[in-house]
């Protein structure tokens, strides 16, 4: 507790007094009578003791001294109202620099003295000064001082040396020296022995210093050498010849060439770039990349991303109150394809190839090399209108190159728009009376490239198209109660979706809606014409392609194929199988695929269905129609075969395929079909039949035991006793502040009490002094009076005697 006060006093001690106090303290500390030891009752390990030794005498005298300087002064001047005023110019003005201050003061002084004080003094001149002293005065004393100091400085030995070697001329000399150097600081005279010891240590120290300096210099040079050697070896390995030459030339005489070579040696060497990879290596790398991508795809197919992304149940402590309070949130991002840059490279390479190969055809056709991205679809269309496919491709390529996102800021948005335009253009090409499918086939390439560059924009525009189409269909169903299959453009869009995005993902922002849309097409739309059948089969192909890798189960696909088979049969009651929604067992639109004409049956050849058939079928003849019907049937058989191969591994494969099998074996008039068709039929049936039936009972996964929640008390380890623990940082700070305040308050009360005591003491001593003075005076008076009385009596006696 006394510590604070002590510290305070220590701080306020004037700095001039520090030196002597320190020495005095040292003296006092060594004096056992001055030291008060606070004895500890128990020795506690690890406790830091601060106040085990106190110097009560010293501290008391210090306190008294301080009080006499401050409190006592105040006390003595308590009834005095005089104030000391400092009228020096600008003394307390900090804004004026000292030089300026001096100049201003000087001018003021000069102004004050302006005008002659003494009118009779004719040659009153300014007094010349040097360092503020009048030159006249200096001249008077100069000679004596100069001569004296000069000789003494040069000739005399230093006091220490003389003291050490010649006994120092006794106390007199020492006293003189000390008084000359340090005016008031009284130092104890050092003994001779001490002095010598001090000198020896000093010289030793100097010696050691020199030694270390030399050593460090040596070390530095050594290090420098080593460095140089390293660099030398580098030069030697990289360019052995030149190095050798260097050495030969170097030895005789260093000339300019050497200098340059040396300089080059210190310069940064151009590192050799990695060598060009061989084709094998490139292929290997590409393979590795593809493998990685494939692994990524598989992961997404199984929906593992999602599971990983889901927050895992974190460890629940026994004290968890299960109130749903979670401290941190999971903000991990999905793993994404890292293809984009690679894709870009591929893009540039691929995109440039058509340009080079088609250049010879187009030297005649010259179009400008710089294309802006069209602002609207109309301008885009007019740009491509009337050009050949190759020209269109070149234009698209140049637009992409001229507006690469790395070239300007707004290019990204522009190119993203280009993707939308291109899609719209493709849709328009597909809806023409004579759909330009060859053009679309080529335009898919730039579409793919753009998609690789801007996946978000591409997915958005395809989603937009899907949403529009689905919305239209929904409206149709609401108004008319039935929907029709969409045009060729939607089919193409769906196909393009499968080209641009991985269709095997468990969940994909574009592909999943596309799945939903196709499912609606196969279940909601009426099949009334042969075109509808072809469109439906096209969608079936799409479904198969979408799920070809992931092998996902599509009920709509099987239903539709069953329906298609159903409408190829003559009208009769269906037995053993049921067709669902778009098809009906009885009613209209049956026998769409039924062919009875024997001649047509025989003349049929399997042909690939041209897609344009979807838009115009009317002008074809009866025979052709029948042939198309048979081709559809063949396609249907093939799709069944592919489905069977795809779904082989599903546990209820046989149940899924049961209706199809019944229809194929019991209802289809195989014998009437031409031979080719029979081949298709048998291959499909074979694929269905030769699958093993294997059923193993299901076993559900074991349930993990849930640990019981226990409300045990919280236990905290105490690592250090005595220190206040617990609470947050804020709380701890607060506690500390409170404690400090308490301490300060106690200290202040103590100080005030001591001040009062001091004052009381002072007053008492004053009173005592006054009393004693009065006593003395009274005594004096009484003495003088008694002396007077005595004299008077003596006179009286004398007179009486006499």
């Amino acid at each position: 507790m006394g510590k604070a006060a002590k510290r305070k006093r220590k701080v306020s001690v004037p700095s001039t007094a520090k030196g002597p106090v320190k020495s005095a303290m040292a003296m006092v500390k060594s004096n056992p009578f001055e030291v008060k030891v606070n004895r500890q009752k128990f020795n506690i390990l690890g406790r830091k003791t601060k106040n085990d030794v106190g110097l009560p005498g010293v501290s008391r005298s210090k306190a008294i001294k301080k009080r006499t300087q401050t409190l006592l002064k105040e006390y003595k001047e308590r009834e005095k109202t005089n104030v000391f005023k400092d009228k020096r110019f600008g003394e307390y003005n900090t804004k004026i620099s000292p030089e300026e201050k001096m100049i201003r003061r000087f001018t003021l002084e000069r102004q004050k003295n302006y005008g002659k004080k003494n009118i009779y003094n004719l040659n009153e001149d300014e007094e010349l000064t040097h360092y503020g002293q009048s030159l006249a005065e200096i001249e008077k004393m100069n000679d004596i001082i100069d001569s004296d100091s000069d000789t003494e400085e040069r000739g005399t030995l230093s006091a220490e040396l003389t003291a050490a070697h010649f006994g120092g001329g006794g106390g007199l000399l020492r006293k003189k020296a000390s008084s000359g150097q340090q005016d008031e600081e009284e130092e104890k005279p050092k003994s001779r022995k001490e002095l010598i010891e001090e000198m020896i240590t000093k010289s030793k120290q100097e010696k050691q210093e020199r030694q270390t300096q030399r050593e460090s210099a040596l070390e530095l040079t050594e290090k420098l050498d080593n460095d140089w050697k390293e660099i030398q070896t580098l030069i030697a390995r990289k360019t052995p010849k030149s190095e050798k030459k260097d050495k030969e030339v170097e030895k005789p005489k260093p000339d300019e060439y050497d200098m340059i070579v040396r300089e080059l040696g210190f310069e940064m060497k151009a590192k050799p770039s990695e060598r060009m990879k061989t084709e094998e290596e490139l292929a290997k790398e590409e393979q590795a990349r593809l493998q990685k991508l494939e692994a990524d795809r598989l992961r997404r197919m199984h929906g593992l991303d999602e599971q990983a992304n889901k927050k895992k149940p974190s460890h629940v402590s026994a004290d968890d109150l299960a109130d749903g309070f979670i401290l941190d949130k999971d903000d991990r991002r999905l793993l994404s394809y890292k293809v984009r840059r690679i894709g870009l490279e591929v893009t540039s390479v691929k995109a440039s190839s058509p340009t080079s190969c088609s250049k010879q055809d187009f030297c005649l056709v010259s179009f400008c090399f710089y294309f802006l991205v069209p602002e609207s679809y109309e301008t885009f269309k007019s740009l491509l209108a009337g050009r050949t496919i190759e020209q269109q491709l070149i234009i698209l390529d140049r637009i992409q190159k001229c507006n690469h996102p790395s070239l300007a800021v707004g290019n990204k948005a522009k190119l993203e728009k280009l993707f939308g335009f291109l899609l719209e253009y493709i849709g328009e090409l597909a809806t023409l009376d004579l759909p330009e499918l060859r053009t679309i086939d080529k335009l898919v390439l730039p579409l793919y490239n753009l998609c690789q560059m801007f996946p978000e924009a591409a997915s958005d525009s395809i989603k937009f198209i899907l949403r529009d189409a689905a919305h239209d269909m929904e409206e149709l169903i609401e108004v008319k109660g039935r929907a029709t299959l969409p045009g060729l453009d939607m089919l193409i869009y769906l196909k393009i979706t499968s080209l641009l995005f991985p269709t095997s993902d468990f969940m994909h922002p574009v592909v999943t809606p596309a799945f939903m849309y196709m499912s609606q097409l196969l279940t909601k739309c009426r099949i009334t014409t042969l075109q509808d059948v072809i469109k439906g089969l096209f969608i079936c192909c799409l479904f198969l392609e979408y799920v070809s890798l992931s092998k996902r189960f599509v009920p709509e696909l099987i239903n539709f194929l069953l329906g298609v088979l159903h409408i190829s049969l003559p009208k009769k009651r269906a037995q053993g199988y049921t067709v669902v929604h778009p098809f009906s067992p009885v009613g209209k639109n049956l026998e769409l695929l039924l062919v009875c004409d024997k001649k047509d049956l025989e003349s049929w050849q399997k042909q690939n269905l041209p897609l344009s058939i979807v838009t115009r079928l009317k002008e074809t003849s009866r025979t052709e129609m029948n042939h198309i019907r048979l081709s559809c049937l063949a396609l249907c058989f093939d799709l069944i075969k592919k489905c069977a191969a795809l779904y082989e591994s599903l546990p209820s494969f046989h149940e899924i395929m049961h209706p199809v099998r019944v229809l194929l074996t019991q209802h289809v008039p195989v014998n009437e079909y031409p031979e080719k068709m029979q081949e298709w039929y048998h291959s499909a049936l074979k694929e269905l039949e030769n699958k093993v039936k294997q059923y193993t009972p299901l076993i559900s996964e074991k349930k993990k035991p849930v640990p019981l929640k226990q409300y045990t008390p919280k236990i905290v380890k105490v690592l250090e006793f005595g220190r206040k623990q617990g609470g947050s940082k804020k709380e701890q700070e607060r506690k500390q502040l409170i404690q400090r305040h308490k301490r300060e308050l106690k200290g202040a009360i103590r100080e005030i009490r001591k001040d009062n005591q001091f004052l009381a003491r002072m007053q008492l001593s004053e009173i005592m002094e006054r009393d004693s003075a009065r006593k003395r005076k009274v005594k004096e008076l009484l003495g003088s009076l008694s002396a007077q009385e005595g004299e008077w009596k003596a006179m009286k006696r004398k007179r009486g005697k006499n």
Partner: protein
């Protein structure tokens, strides 16, 4: 315009003095005329004229003698005039009834409104004295004319009927319409001898289906009589053979606008049982009415669950009434006293049929099946059979068996749901994967899933915010340029 003025003049004259009463014939002539405009004018004028006469009491009240007899008779001139005018009124009503069969809807509507105005006025100023003295009478004859006009045999009068609905708000009109319809049905259908009359029956249905019966007895004096009349009407309507579309419509409204207002709902048992036996969508719909009868009126239905079981065929996932059907099925299967074999058979059949279902139905049926497992833990062998026979070559369940008890469902496993774990729709796959683990205690809420439509599903999927869009890494070579492209095998780009 000139015609309108002339007609107005004529009305004024007749109303003004009895001397010019003969000008009524001008109006009646116009009413029966060919011209549409004139007929409309005349109809309006007749309404005004006879309305005023009815209010003045210038029509003969009481039984009407034949015209000749009346004129020749020895009554006062006043009486003779009134009787004569009454005959003109009768002619006018006949003319208006004819107009209700006119081609133009405007005229029909006008005739209807005029007739209904006569009905209203006649009720206030009765032409026929009430039987018991002091009670009020209702002009049934007029209303019968209106109802007959509303129910033509050869055309669809739904527009006119919907116009007529506003009069059905009145209790008395409603009551007498019900009576008139009952009479009309008996009369018309007897003639046709069990041959359905699509238009007539359609018209009757659209007239009687929106009837809003009052809910409380205090609303009406003779609530019971009203109910009985209502019941009689429906029974006579349903007695005859209905076209399939109408059958469904009747069944759709059966549970909330017919059964609650019948005096004795059990009378519907025959109709519903027959409907339940028809099969297909009609059976599904009859289920609702049957449920009410079983639940509230102690109907004992033999082999109900067997029948319900046989209703399950692939079309249930595709029909319009899916939500209603599964809502009821859920109710029927919610009893915990059902034997395990029965529930297992239902589970197995539903999941077998789910192999052909669209995703929106799958999203509903999988939680449905999960709920069944929760209610009937004995069925859990279907998903968990630790020591079962290892390699079976057939699914023990017999799909073709009609008796649930014979279907051996409890010996089988739910391979169908396991198959659906590979469904292309991510939500379906996830839902199916739930059955791999042990189920939670709380039942899933089906109410939101029952009405799920494919478009809603699609919309939900499209509106999802994508964090990241994975891309195809295989370089495109053309529209059909993929490896092993199916399209390249079967389609060409011509």
């Amino acid at each position: 315009m000139a015609r309108a003025a002339a007609v107005a003049d004529c009305v004024q004259a007749v109303l003004g003095s009895r001397a010019s009463a003969n000008r009524v014939f001008e109006l009646l002539e116009l009413l029966g005329g060919e011209d549409e405009e004139d007929a409309a004018c005349a109809a309006r004028a007749c309404g005004r004229l006879f309305g005023a006469l009815l209010q003045r009491g210038e029509l003969l009240a009481g039984p009407l003698p034949a015209e000749e007899a009346c004129l020749a008779g020895s009554g006062s001139a006043e009486d003779k005039y009134k009787a004569w005018m009454r005959h003109r009124y009768q002619e006018c009503v006949a003319g208006l009834a004819e107009l209700m069969g006119h081609g133009s809807f405007r005229l029909k509507e006008l005739a209807l409104c005029t007739l209904m105005r006569f009905v209203e006025l006649e009720a206030k100023h009765p032409l026929v004295a009430a039987e018991p003295q002091g009670s009020r009478t209702f002009p049934r004859e007029r209303l019968k004319v209106v109802v007959d006009g509303l129910l033509p045999i050869n055309e669809d009068a739904s527009l006119l009927i919907s116009r007529f609905q506003e009069y059905m708000e009145y209790d008395d009109v409603r009551y007498f319409v019900i009576k008139a319809v009952t009479g009309s049905i008996a009369q018309v259908m007897q003639k046709t001898k069990e041959r359905p009359l699509p238009f007539y029956q359609q018209n009757v249905f659209s007239l009687i289906s929106p009837i809003n019966m009052p809910n409380k007895e205090s609303d009406m004096v003779k609530f019971l009589a009203h109910k009985q009349a209502f019941e009689k009407m429906w029974l006579s309507f349903l007695k005859h053979k209905l076209p399939a579309g109408l059958y469904k419509k009747v069944l759709v409204i059966m549970h909330d606008s017919i059964l609650p207002y019948m005096n004795e709902p059990t009378l519907m048992i025959d109709f519903l049982t027959v409907a339940y036996g028809i099969g297909g969508a009609i059976s599904l719909l009859a289920l609702n009415g049957l449920f009410i009868l079983i639940h509230q009126h102690n109907l004992e239905y033999p082999d109900f669950y067997k029948k319900l079981y046989s209703l399950l065929d692939p079309s249930i996932y595709h029909v319009k009434y899916r939500a209603r059907f599964f809502h009821l099925t859920d109710l029927f299967l919610s009893s915990s006293h059902l034997p395990a074999y029965l529930v297992a058979a239902f589970i197995k059949r539903l999941s077998r049929l789910a192999l052909t279902a669209p995703p929106e139905a799958l999203l509903m049926i999988i939680p449905f099946i999960c709920n069944l497992f929760r209610r009937h833990p004995a069925c859990s062998v279907l998903v968990h059979r630790p020591n079962g026979p290892a390699g079976m070559s057939e699914d023990p369940y017999i799909m073709e068996e009609e008796q649930p008890s014979q279907s051996r469902a409890l010996e089988s496993s739910l391979w169908e749901i396991q198959t659906l774990q590979n469904h292309y729709h991510p939500d379906v796959a996830k839902a199916a994967a739930v059955l791999n683990h042990s189920l939670s205690e709380i039942e899933d809420d089906l109410s939101g899933l029952l009405e799920l439509s494919a478009y809603e599903l699609f919309d939900k999927e499209v509106k999802k915010k994508a964090i990241d869009v994975p891309l195809e890494f295989e370089q495109v070579r053309g529209l059909f340029g993929k490896k092993n492209d199916i399209f390249a095998e079967h389609f060409t780009l011509d």
